[in-house]
Amino acid sequence: MKILLSLLAFALVLSSCRKDEPDDYATTSKVYLNVVHKFNGNPLSDNDTVVDINGHSVFMNLVDLKMYLSGFSFDNTSLDGVVLLDANNGQYYIGDIKPGDYSKISLGIGLDSVLNASDPVTFESAHPLSYNQGMYWVWATKYRFFKVEATADVDGNGVFDDGIVYHIGTNDMYRQTEFTKAISVESGEDVIINLEVDWFKFFNNLDLSSESNTHTVNDVPLATKVADNALGVLSIQ
């Protein structure tokens, strides 16, 4: 009986030593964003684009488009990826998630105050937050959250003589959004989130003849409008 009890106690000790975390960790799934860019519902092109803005036909030539996405979460589970989108369709790894059923995806457009306080020289050159990405502004204002640059023929004179420059940054311009989306994460299987970015929606309710240029600090009201428009730019398919 003594021997039996000893064996049981030993088995109990062994069992209590086993950690659960490694198994759970081993079965997490990688989450990727599959990003497709659009302009007014059409495939994005850097060639001359005719768009209707507030009742006027505008010829537009997109020059530079970049946008940070961060602050990802599935329900209340955070993913720590930071993504810098440009005008190219592509797939981006944003973190790992445990198996389960989720109903909501949240993300931030730009960088939260902690990420925005990063020092760009501490990252390798290929990192989204590196100095090499051309998104770091100045010491005082930190990172640009997104850039929308284009030339346009706003007045229809046949010349692309209107510059559109929206460089949006500073902590107040960080925007968070969420999408209702039922996602069932199976153990160890990659999760692909299809994200559509329609850059045209940055121009919603803007008068391009007067609201064409802000680097945030020089025109905060316009920067706020553009940052708010950013909330309509993304959609989960």
Binding site: P120, V121, G163
Partner: protein, 367 residues
């Protein structure tokens, strides 16, 4: 007896001394405070012997067709490794097509040359030797000439761990040397390294120090309307307080001409001769007091001329960098700078000079 056995046993466990390691000695760059880390290519790690070979090659006139020109013939250390003239003359007496760029802090630069046509220092180092307007020589001839010396065969062997001279090894050695040309000890660096508080690091004269400080603020200020001094320089020449490199490494059209005579990036294979016409690499703003004349064609001889250009004369090519105008291209372009603001920006730029770099004996002609 037991003790003897133990001693024998211990002795038999002892490893023979390692043979002395043969081969080049790794070299690690000391990165100045505030700079990003240096990422050397994995196939060309820095070594003491490789850098020394590169230094000798940089000053070696046998790299040119008539043995009269070295890299250093157009890239003077006293000029932060740039030239004093707008277009350097090659061995045939013909001018080159662009101003000789300064050479420093290129370890961080993703592209080389004004038009960005080379993506590594190793690739860049091959060009000037073969350029008919520069050193006008073939690499086969250079290799033969170096092979025929008593100096270079052992230096190449020491640098690469085996005998042999070829253009790839020569370019690697030159790249190693150029990767060590780091300038990060200007008055502004000292001001930044000490927390941005003590302006005496900027200049011993308090009035001038304050002007430099204000010049830095104007440099970083975006367009805020007519009459408000705003350099907007930081868009392309990143705030030195942010990365210390003073360039975003982009290749853009800065409005020097309505129609640029030089295609710039537009002349590089794979780029558009129309949309990329007149686009040039954003240069560093360090050491400007040594690197005149300025711009890709050396058209400006003084910093005052450069600042006046950005305040008064930016042209309107169709592909003008959008950071250079404030809305309609026809309204206003470039910086908004009063006369005193121009002076302050000039003083600020001069605070980025690094005399210790242009006088560093480690970079000088080894003789």
């Amino acid at each position: 007896m037991c003790l003897c056995a133990l001693v024998v046993g211990l002795s038999s466990c002892r490893k023979d001394p390692e043979p002395p390691e043969i081969g080049p000695e790794n070299y690690y760059i000391v990165v100045p405070q505030g700079f990003p880390t240096v990422e050397s290519p994995t196939n060309n790690a820095l070594t003491v012997e490789g850098i020394e070979l590169g230094r000798h090659l940089f000053y070696e006139e046998k790299l040119s067709g008539d043995n009269t020109q070295a890299c250093a013939s157009c890239h003077f250390q006293s000029k932060a490794f740039s030239d004093t003239v707008d277009f350097s003359l090659g061995i045939q007496g013909n001018p080159g097509l662009r101003n000789a760029m300064p050479i420093f802090n290129l370890a961080w630069s993703p592209t080389l040359f004004w038009d960005g046509r080379a993506e590594s220092l190793e690739e860049q180092a091959l060009f000037p030797v073969q350029d008919h307007l520069e050193m006008d020589e073939t690499w086969d001839n250079v290799v033969a000439k170096l092979q025929n010396t008593t100096k270079y065969p052992p230096m190449f062997e020491a640098a690469f761990g085996s005998p042999g001279i070829d253009s790839v090894r020569a370019s690697k050695a030159l790249a190693q040397f150029m990767r060590t040309l780091i300038s990060g000890n200007s008055p502004f660096d000292q001001f930044a390294n000490n927390g941005y508080f003590d302006r005496s690091y900027l200049h011993p004269n308090p009035t001038i120090a304050n002007y430099i400080y204000e010049g830095w603020q104007i440099f970083n200020r975006d367009y805020a309307g007519p009459g408000i001094d705003a350099g907007s320089c930081f868009h392309c020449h990143t705030d030195p307080a942010a990365t210390r490199l003073t360039t975003d490494f982009q290749i853009t059209n800065n409005g020097l001409d309505d129609v640029s005579a030089d295609l710039g990036l537009g002349g590089v294979a794979g780029f558009d001769p129309v949309q990329d016409r007149g686009k040039f690499k954003t240069p560093s703003l360090r050491n400007l007091s040594y690197t005149a004349p300025y711009m890709h064609d050396g058209r400006f001889n003084t910093l005052e001329e450069v600042i006046d250009f950005y305040a008064d004369s930016v042209q309107a090519p169709a592909n003008l960098d959008l950071d250079l105008y404030h809305g309609s291209i026809n309204d206003k372009r470039g910086a908004v700078l009063s006369p005193i603001a121009r002076y302050k920006i000039k003083l600020f730029l001069e605070s980025l000079n690094d005399p210790s770099f242009v006088n560093n004996p480690a970079f000088s002609d080894p003789g």
